[in-house]
């Protein structure tokens, strides 16, 4: 038994490929827990960032600067009454959020956090991710159907039509990135997620900058299509509160609604990690070819520790600015404790053995975090698309440009 557990530690592959059930389960639990924490942090960040964009403060009361707000939201949603509409189909009503949740969480088994830091490395990695994330359309259709009410039905039809329209443009952009992986010495491309990042490592360039501007245009098409795919602003007509009274999840209350939100945020993180893997170099540090060498490697390896120390500094500045009143004492202590924890993590990340292992994971998560902030920025900035404008953009603008980029990438790849 102990041999089974320790025999994996010497190997250099992902636990799925090694066939080691114990370590695969450990990795699955770690990724699952990490995504759940990330969804809660995303919930907090969205409310605070939207508020600051609109020159107000957002939640400030629940914890220091509203840091415990997601926990309060979760408690409220758990304790709400569970209402099922009268003539609704109970089984389908129950299973629709579960389908969206399972589809959004299953894609994480191929997400590459490092050369061996993935749950497994399927040969068809990117095809698997695109396929399983398209299963959430089924959940949306069934949620609208099972609610037995007009607004959810129209909302779910609009939402599913939008999702399947933008999947086509996403697929074309992804194929043009896969074409670029085949430009290595052996001449064979790969669909596996770890293989795509390793192809970028071999060619020493992020696919964003390859065949400029073709890689950039493909990335922009994917970035727009992924926002439409996850029903986020400015494409959130089917689920916005001022339109169709919240669309396909109108009749869902309490815990079921929170499952929808969990699935939506998890899908956002999943498609962002597709974009990071395909175009932004995955776990590679920035500037791999221009700023290469031992000293630059050392400088970039200090960035994780420095970023956590920077966050701790911001927390301590917040502590210094807290009002000196008795009612705020517990918030001040809480924020100081939070800052101390962040500072300790930052100091721990300076130790050389931790530094080497944490590099890949840190750069991957940092790039995905940039995408998450971009999602919130879009929501604060852009007005909503009308539904016919949305479909027009998807079919008449994105798809021809994506096909054109694909053909040009193929031609340029053969010539050079």
């Amino acid at each position: 038994m102990l041999d089974y557990i320790t025999s994996y530690l010497g190997m250099n592959t992902t636990p799925g490929q090694a066939g080691n059930i114990f370590w695969a389960t450990v990795y699955i639990l770690v990724v699952f827990g990490g995504v759940s924490v990330a969804v809660m942090a995303m919930n907090w960040l969205e409310r605070k960032a939207l508020a600051h964009f609109q020159i107000r403060l957002g939640p400030m009361r629940v914890g220091p600067h509203g840091l415990l707000q997601p926990i309060a939201d979760a408690i409220k949603l758990f304790t709400k009454e569970d209402i099922i509409p009268a003539e609704a189909d109970k089984f389908v009503f129950w299973i629709a959020p579960l389908i969206i949740l399972c589809a959004s969480f299953t894609v994480y088994i191929v997400v590459p956090f490092g050369p061996t830091h993935a749950i497994t490395d399927l040969n068809i990695g990117i095809l698997f991710m695109l396929g399983v994330s398209s299963l959430s359309v089924l959940g949306v259709v069934m949620a609208g159907w099972a609610s037995n009410s007009h607004y959810p039905l129209i909302g779910s039809l609009r939402s599913s039509a939008q999702m399947i329209s933008y999947e086509v443009a996403m697929g074309m952009a992804v194929v043009s990135a896969i074409l670029m992986t085949s430009l290595n010495k052996t001449g064979t491309g790969t669909l596996s997620m770890i293989g795509i990042v390793q192809a970028q490592q071999e060619q020493q360039v992020w696919f964003l900058f390859k065949f400029f501007p073709l890689g950039l245009i493909a990335f922009i098409i994917f970035a727009i299509a992924m926002v439409a795919e996850t029903n986020r602003a400015p494409f959130d007509l089917p689920e916005a509160e001022s339109e169709l009274t919240a669309g396909f999840h109108t009749e869902y209350s309490g815990l079921r609604w929170s499952l929808f939100m969990l699935g939506e945020y998890a899908a956002m993180i999943a498609v962002s990690s597709i974009a990071v893997t395909l175009w932004l170099g995955g776990w590679m540090r920035p500037f791999p070819n221009t700023l290469s060498g031992e000293t630059w490697d050392l400088v970039f390896s200090l960035v994780p520790g420095l970023s956590f120390l920077g966050l701790a500094l911001i927390a301590f500045i917040g502590v210094a600015r807290m009002p000196k009143h008795a009612y705020f004492r517990i918030q001040t202590i809480g924020l100081a404790g939070f800052g101390a924890v962040l500072g300790l993590i930052g100091l721990a990340l300076f130790a050389p053995p931790v530094r080497d292992r944490i590099q890949d994971i840190f750069w991957f998560v940092a790039k995905v975090a940039v995408f998450m902030y971009l999602y919130i920025w879009y929501r604060a900035t852009f007005p909503r698309y009308r539904f016919d404008q949305l479909m027009k953009v998807g079919w008449k603008v994105l798809l021809p440009v994506a096909i054109g980029v694909l053909i040009l990438t193929a031609i340029v790849g053969v010539i050079f």
Partner: protein
Amino acid sequence: MTPVATPFFFYLLSGLTLVSGVLVITRKNAVHSALALIFGLLAQAGLYLMLYAPFVAGVQIILYAGGIMVLFLFVIMLVNLERSQKEAQFNKQWLVGLLAAGALGGLFVAVYMRGQGLFPEHAPLPLEGSNTQQVGVLLYGQYMFAFEIASLLLLVAIIGAVVMAKKRI
């Protein structure tokens, strides 16, 4: 890639497939049948993965479960089936149909019992890391003509479906 607990996964996945097949043909509500078919298709994708065919499994998930079943669900929603849930579900020839299917099943059993020695029992384990590349080489090399004909067939199907479902031709 080392296989792990093959009999357990085989019986689980094939059991799920067969149970969902039974549910498809026996449910009154067409939406429940469609849901059961989706689960059956996903279990079958798992069976393809066990047979070292990851590309076919990916195509099954993307096309069948994520495309064709969405089409079925849209049509079930358009065609309002409330009334048909209260009518008789099985037609008048159900006994003859069952007997014919039973005869077909008996034929299958006879063929499999006679032909057991015709193919090797334990298959050689193929290389997994390059399945997509090999399928791609075959598809664009030897089967290029069939590939182009399949794309033409899809074009004809799109035109046919649009013409069929229009209100006035």
